[in-house]
Symmetry: C2
Subunit: 297 residues, 2 copies
Amino acid sequence: MRWAEGFITADWGTTNRRAYLIDASGQRIDEFEDDKGILSVRKGGFGDAVAEIRERLGDLPLLLAGMVGSNRGWVEAPYVPCPADLADLARALIWAGEREAIIPGVSVVRNNRADVMRGEEVQILGAREAGLISPDSVVCHPGTHNKWIHLRMGKIHNFATVMTGELFGLLKDYSILSGILQAPVEPNAAFERGVRQALDSDFLPAQLFGVRASVLLEQLKQEDAASVVSGLLIGTDVRIGMSFPLAARVMILGRPELTRLYAVAVGLAGRDATVLDGEQCFLAGAKRIAELIDERG
Amino acid sequence: MRWAEGFITADWGTTNRRAYLIDASGQRIDEFEDDKGILSVRKGGFGDAVAEIRERLGDLPLLLAGMVGSNRGWVEAPYVPCPADLADLARALIWAGEREAIIPGVSVVRNNRADVMRGEEVQILGAREAGLISPDSVVCHPGTHNKWIHLRMGKIHNFATVMTGELFGLLKDYSILSGILQAPVEPNAAFERGVRQALDSDFLPAQLFGVRASVLLEQLKQEDAASVVSGLLIGTDVRIGMSFPLAARVMILGRPELTRLYAVAVGLAGRDATVLDGEQCFLAGAKRIAELIDERG
């Protein structure tokens, strides 16, 4: 069996999964996305969930990334410690079957700090593989948990996870601010005001309450509150990212509705931002791992 | 009618209320606490809720503080802008009836910042009235929303609200950290570790995820996670408070289970902390306002 003759790869996260069929020429020729994230798969149900992917895309080898390799997933793939590149990931693949490989996540323990990622590593190292980012660079990968990644000599050297998206969701759904946060977030003047406040001072848990007070005291229009709060959170996030080396130019990689907000915030921090397509990067990383599997036989 | 002959005062918050009977000698001779906060009172139901207080403590004038004066309360008492002392509050009382006075909250709008408080102002200015704090001082008032208050010449000059308690609750009840945050918080070594991390760097939304990663990578015992997260939040809170003038000695005022945590964090920040009894301060403030009502006739 040679993977280069065609394989399926999937980014299988907590709440959804996206699978791609790659043909012998390395082109993506089919794909689907659904909401069968790992939390929706019953215990012992991964065999069926995997069979369903093959029913839709073909009876081919399967390369899986993301939370499917976590302790709540199909088979646990222990984290590969930094520094790590695609060859390190390929060497540490966990085989759930003869034709089913799970890509491990990456961990870092340094200076009394610990962090983990699962799924983003394929995109980031794929961006490097595709020549879209230089071997020494800083990448921002927005999501429920934003990642700042320092790439050094082509390897993931260090990274930090910032709970920005999750904190926004908690505030919107459950907090005393909930009532004023239901408007859509836009990269408008209110968003920029929040970003600037967060870049100027590190008082996030006070600034958040200040948004409520500003609405109560008619210093801020209620419809702008969600954008200000998003700006405060993303501005704080970018301030954290700016502490990484090489952050003069930031490569931003992910879904457009988030990357456009981060691009504005990075710009307000006085840095250049380049936005990349996360899907393209993921496929570049997955194809390289498939090649490495063939090379190692 | 003279209030000095005896009155009832209540701190009536969002989720509970505490009422005290004060006799002609100024002594507290009866009290009760229940969970009839303003959110539990149906629209139009405040007459009955007030009658119930008098049934329990006597048919006397009633001085109310807290969220009962908010737009969700009995009658809205507009915020008094800083600087404000007890005389300012007494002048701005809102009369819900001939014998029912509601104490307004306090607001600040300064340097593009806005903030509000309702209830804490009586305790803080009561502490000053009782001679427990000097006319120029910094007070920390922990709660769901911690308040840092700068008192200047005996007046509330400026303040900031930090969402510490609420953020901890959101993380504990709804976040990806929920599973590791169920242990009780103690002012132990793990708590101090969190405080020190927060005092050293302003990376809260990253440090929070780091706690989860530290448990996953076995760098931190799961039973210590709640104390570390509380330490990170309270340490961040204290770092914000340290930006106030006069913070060499911090007066901490509130419930013992919170004031003991803040006292540890303030100490780790290299400042002196003095813990005061919030209830005693509240009663001192309410008695002074009752006197002012009598003086003004």
